[in-house]
């Protein structure tokens, strides 16, 4: 099984490198430009009090606020998109490409195939975040002497790695969708809608008092993208909840993949339960 796991990671090698390089530019630029805009950003306080910016979680008062509002707020969304693409491509995508039949026909239980792919996806998500975190930390070290901040380099590194549970939850939901939906396109569409609704639903419901009660329904509610993250770390209950969602989605992925007719491409309820009369 180790060879299959290594192979799965190898299949993702180019995607990991590509996404890490692509995503690196965003936090590197946000951190790198801060010294030039530090004073200007402090003057934006009134504008950022507007609900629209509050809804987007924007606060640029300090470097800690700035990096939380930009890097910590945006990177997980982008990595979550990779998680949707990879998660849905893993089962539904490989089935559509015809690659899964040869693997499923091997003397390997299906739950092991899903487990290996889930582990590979988790490792890929972690490596992307790690590479982005490392380059962001390097840029931080380069500008540290020019800014006022209580943060140290490990805060930046951990701040980004703390977002792994939420992208893992999205990844496992996508894996489940790949085992559940008839086609990858359908699974990816549902996964993307979940990410977008979850992100904007979380930020909007935090600003609208009547929506506060539904806030816990949105995954991104459990991601702390405020400066407080650097002081106390993520809430244990949030991390446990997100990992619980990931675990539940993983278990459902196994259950539905176990029952799936590979190569057929049908919803579970379209499967014939008995011979028609």
């Amino acid at each position: 099984m180790l060879r299959l796991l290594l192979q799965e990671i190898r299949f993702r090698r180019n995607a990991i490198i590509g996404w890490a390089i692509g995503l690196t530019f965003l936090p590197a630029i946000y951190v790198g430009i801060y010294p030039q805009f530090e004073k200007d950003l402090a003057g934006l306080g009134d504008i950022l009090d507007l609900p629209i910016y509050q809804a987007m979680g924007m606060n640029f008062g300090t470097f800690e606020d700035w990096i939380a509002s930009t890097v910590i707020n945006i990177v997980p969304i982008l990595v979550a998109i990779y998680a949707v693409l990879d998660g849905t491509g893993t089962l539904a995508g490989e089935e559509e490409a015809g690659k899964l039949e040869l693997i499923v026909a091997l003397p390997i239980p299906r739950w092991q195939i899903v487990t290996v792919k889930a582990i590979a996806l988790g490792i890929a998500l972690f490596l992307i975040l790690l590479l982005v975190a490392i380059t962001t930390t390097i840029v931080f070290l380069a500008i540290e002497s020019q800014i006022k901040t209580n943060l140290v380099w490990t805060d930046i590194l951990w701040g980004l790695l703390y977002t792994w549970p939420i992208v893992m939850a999205v990844g496992m939901i996508s894996l489940f969708l790949g085992a559940f939906a008839p086609r990858r396109r359908t699974a990816a569409l549902i996964g993307t809608v979940i990410v977008i609704v979850s992100y904007f639903g979380s930020t909007l419901s935090s600003q609208v008092s009547t929506l506060e009660t539904i806030q816990p329904l949105f995954l991104f509610h459990y991601l702390d993208s405020t400066a407080g993250l650097f002081e106390t770390g993520p809430r244990a209950s949030d991390v446990l909840f997100l990992l619980g969602v990931a675990l539940a989605a993983f278990i459902y992925a196994i259950i539905f993949f176990q029952r799936r007719d590979i190569t057929v491409g049908a919803w579970p309820w379209q499967r014939a339960k008995k011979v028609p009369a």
């Binding site: 060879r3 192979q7 490409a97 015809g98 039949e101 040869l102 239980p109 379209q270 499967r271 011979v275």
Partner: protein, 302 residues
């Protein structure tokens, strides 16, 4: 009591409301080479996929080596080499990397070097990336993957598809070699001559139902006979008009008859016109197959 390597009982698969296969009862004994015939969509691939637990039956049971293909699928598949009909491989791997990976994922793997031998026999360059290979060479990769573990049972879905005639011949030789070494072979093909050449028995599936299972020689012998008879005096045009007899060709020397029944009567009639020569024309499996589908001359099985 005979232990069947493959046994299906009332095996049925429906895709929603669409029939895949219906009540397929199949028994393949150890050491047999069993050919599975049928046009596209008849249910050959569906049957093989159920055996490999790629899809699940709607009703009925399938077993290999006495183990249920669904409940004990892992143990059953451990002794099987499988070549799917719609082969798709991991394009970014080199052929040798794919073989190493595939070999390592089999439980009862023994001869680590055997895939090298197979690749050489098929003239397959294992240093190339799979994405660079032609369709025929990709098919060779699939063939090697199926045979590499020297399995007790080979399930091959159109193994010679996309291969040139020389390589087709090599693959058929591999099938026979594996069979001589003790493997049971269950394969489907559109090339009836190769089934006729290597198979002990053949099953014909039509619209999801197994319509015939017979030994190849019995099938070609029993279904109908073709006689070329030359006469001293040509019989009249309606001389052989009777149940189960069809006159295929008539020239100045004689007639070609296709006879399903009343052979005795045909010979008696022919004798009245002075037989100068009589020859049995071999009936090919292809003609039998077409007869089952009602497309052959005189076919009445459809």
């Amino acid at each position: 009591m005979t232990e069947y390597v493959i046994e299906t009982k009332k095996l049925s698969v429906y895709y929603g409301q669409h029939l895949g296969i219906l009540d397929v009862d199949l028994r393949i004994e150890k050491g047999e080479v069993f050919g599975f015939l049928g046009p596209n969509g008849a249910g050959k691939t569906t049957t093989q996929r159920v055996l490999m637990d790629v899809i699940r039956p709607t009703a009925g049971k399938a077993s290999m080596f006495g183990k249920d293909c669904q409940k004990e699928g892992v143990a059953a598949r451990d002794r099987v080499g499988y070549l799917p009909g719609e082969l798709s491989l991991y394009d970014n791997l080199k052929v040798s990397q794919f073989f190493k990976m595939y070999f390592s994922l089999q439980k009862s793997n023994t001869d680590r070097r055997y895939w090298h031998t197979l690749a050489e026999q098929l003239d397959l360059d294992t240093s190339r990336k799979i994405r660079e290979l032609s369709r025929g060479n990709k098919q060779k990769v699939g063939v090697v993957a199926a045979f590499m573990n020297k399995p007790d049972l080979l399930i091959l879905d159109e193994p010679t598809s996309g291969l040139d005639p020389l390589v087709q011949q090599t693959v058929m030789e591999l099938v026979l070699e594996a069979n001589q070494a003790g493997s049971t072979v269950f394969f489907s093909s559109h090339i009836l001559s190769e089934i006729q050449a290597v198979c002990d028995r053949v099953g014909i599936i039509r619209e999801g139902q197994l319509v015939a299972t017979e030994r190849v020689e019995d099938m070609t012998r029993q279904q109908f006979k073709r006689l070329r008879i030359n006469f001293t005096t040509m019989p009249p045009a309606d001389a052989f008009t009777q149940e189960g007899v069809a006159e295929m060709v008539r020239d100045e020397q004689g007639v070609l008859l296709e006879i399903r029944e009343n052979l005795d009567q045909v010979l008696k009639t022919a004798a009245r016109f002075g037989i100068t020569d009589i020859e049995t024309i071999p009936v090919t499996l292809e003609e039998i197959f077409l007869a089952y589908y009602g497309k052959g001359n005189g076919g009445n099985h459809a």
